[in-house]
């Protein structure tokens, strides 16, 4: 009784901050979750190597920023707006290309040969985990297992303050937080539009719903699958760049937990459903931050996974349920 009322008193003043931080973190989960959900929707495969698709993206944008002349700890001042836009553009493009390329490579090397041999589903899962470990370890070797610093490109500046009054402290919202959440929404919107409006999107949905009939209509399944991996990789690249802006250092093993969280977000929202990935990501970020505020920071991951278990007990298909193919029905 007292425990909970004490906790509540700890939490309440920070409620606004926790919500803002949670949504920001959730937006990153959402962007990564899009990749899990896309691939699952088409192949019913959980691409556990997607966490490393994200990982290589984080390195790609840091490398490109270094080429342009902005490395961590080089004493450069925070660049001016024009330069920031250039850096963000270059970083996002580099990360998306590298992440997208890696995703397609994983599909070609790790999954396509198994598909041709009609391997059982379990084998795909083991291969996925194998690919994940292999990439993460490769990055570890290349970086001597040392963390890399991320240059400070965007100084977080408060844009506005949410002041809910009562005993809740006013919560500042920074440019970075706004940018991250908006990027996730824009990326989801672009993917959703692509899937529902373009010819290739129609093909992806067709394979997701009924791959045999899709083939009878002239859809090249292999090409659709590659495209699906590519799209998920592009979103992961965007996530990687945003993550860099938010975080000071990265290392070869950051993919694992983030990937797991993003996968959780996808399942939470309803795996196979794009909107579910967005909702699931935001909800997960929100809930785990509130949980951390309530129980203490060290419980953040416990809260995240307990929430997953509870939601799935009552709604096994996730919050929005539904699959990629049936997203519009």
């Amino acid at each position: 009784m007292n425990y909970f009322s004490d906790r509540w008193h700890d939490l309440l003043p920070n409620l606004g901050d926790l919500v803002v931080a949670g949504l920001t973190q959730g937006a990153i989960y959402a962007l990564i979750a899009l990749g899990y959900t896309l691939v699952y929707g088409v192949l019913q495969l959980i691409n556990f190597a997607h966490s490393e698709v994200f990982l290589v993206g984080t390195y790609a944008s840091i490398i490109v920023w270094g080429w342009i002349g902005y490395a961590a700890g080089d004493g450069n001042p925070v660049p001016a707006l024009g330069t920031v836009i250039l850096l963000l553009g270059a970083g996002t493009i580099a990360a998306s290309l590298v992440s997208g390329g890696t995703a397609v490579l994983i599909e070609r090397v790790a999954y396509a040969p198994l598909r041709r041999k009609n391997a059982p589903r379990l084998i795909f899962l083991i291969t996925a985990i194998g690919a994940s470990v292999a990439i993460s370890e490769l990055v570890g070797e290349l970086t001597n297992r040392r963390p890399w610093g991320v240059p400070l490109l965007v100084e977080p500046k408060t844009q506005f303050v949410i002041d809910p009054g009562m005993s809740i402290n006013p919560a500042p919202v920074t440019n970075l937080q706004i940018g991250i959440v908006l990027s996730a929404i824009v990326m989801w919107f672009l993917l959703d539009t692509f899937l529902n409006r373009s010819r290739f999107g129609l093909g992806i949905r067709a394979v997701a719903q009924n791959e045999d009939t899709a083939a009878l209509m002239g859809v090249n399944k292999d090409r659709v699958i590659m495209l699906t991996f590519l799209l998920g990789g592009l979103a992961a690249g965007v996530a990687a760049t945003l993550y860099n802006l938010k975080i000071g250092t990265i290392s070869f093993n950051i993919g694992f937990l983030l990937g797991l969280k993003a996968f959780t977000a996808a399942v939470l929202g309803g795996i196979g459903n794009l909107r579910g990935a967005l909702v699931g990501g935001l909800v997960l970020g929100l809930v785990e931050n509130l949980g951390a505020g309530f129980f203490g920071n060290k419980w953040i991951d416990v809260v995240a996974f307990v929430i997953l278990v509870i939601v799935l007990m009552f709604r096994p298909t996730g919050i929005l349920g539904d699959s990629l193919g049936r997203a519009r029905a």
């Binding site: 129609l202 009939t213 899709a214 209509m217 859809v219 519009r328």
Partner: protein, 236 residues
């Protein structure tokens, strides 16, 4: 001959589904493939569309060997199938389903004209064009499956059990439309369990039993063939 199948063997794992079947379909014909459940009719259709690789044998289409061609290339070459069970994309609208049929084609005036043509053949589909395919009745879904296949402008239309699960009146209507489609220049290979309907409409027909072709002839001949009558027409 537009389509020629020679000595086709198809295996599912260790089980042999087709035993050296040969058949042909000439341009402008309606050819029926009849037989009991599990005789290998649908397997034959899947092999023609490229969903099943034959272990031996040859398929030629318009003189070209397509035995190893990818399914999507076969659609471009002019083979399209309305599969068994209709294969409607239940989450897509009726119109999206029709566009799926035209997946390999360029969008444009010709395609829109074909869409209008399908809507003319099946006015019900036009009324329901914004509805998800999964909400249609069985008969409407069959019309959609046929219309969708037509959207690819096939030279050869493969119809797998178009009458399955339909009321007799609807069956007659579907067969009427099949004749119309043929008259407009599309060759048709038809798989049916409803042998009476199929044989009375087809120019020629093949009878399949346990993975082999056991009889062939004109539809009219097979209709009066005592063995066929006995086995498939329910006439003792």
């Amino acid at each position: 001959m537009l389509l020629e199948i020679e000595n086709l063997d198809v295996h599912y794992g260790r089980i042999q589904a087709l035993h050296g079947i040969s058949l042909s379909v000439g341009e402008g014909e309606i050819v029926a493939l009849i037989g009991a459940n599990g005789a290998g009719k649908s397997t034959t259709m899947r092999a023609i569309s490229g969903l099943r690789r034959p272990s031996t044998g040859r398929i030629t289409f318009g003189g070209e060997d397509i035995t190893k061609m990818r399914p999507d290339r076969r659609v471009v070459a002019g083979i399209c199938q309305a599969p068994e069970g209709r294969g409607i994309f239940s989450g897509m609208t009726v119109q999206e389903n029709l566009f799926m049929g035209a997946y390999t084609r360029k969008r444009g005036a010709q395609l829109n004209a074909d869409l209008d043509h399908v809507y003319m053949l099946f006015p019900r589909l036009k009324e329901r064009r914004r509805q998800p395919g999964g909400t249609l009745s069985g008969g409407e879904q069959q019309m959609l499956a046929i219309g969708r296949a037509l959207m690819s402008r096939p030279k050869l239309l493969l119809l797998d059990e178009p009458s399955m699960g339909l009321a007799p009146m609807l069956i007659a209507q579907i067969f009427q439309i099949i004749l119309e489609i043929r008259d407009q220049g599309t060759t048709i290979l038809l798989v049916e369990q409803n042998a009476q309907q199929a044989l009375s409409r087809a120019d020629r027909a093949y009878v399949m039993e346990t993975g082999s072709i056991t009889r062939e002839g004109t539809g009219a001949d097979l209709l009066v063939d005592p063995a066929v009558r006995d086995a498939y027409l329910g006439v003792a």
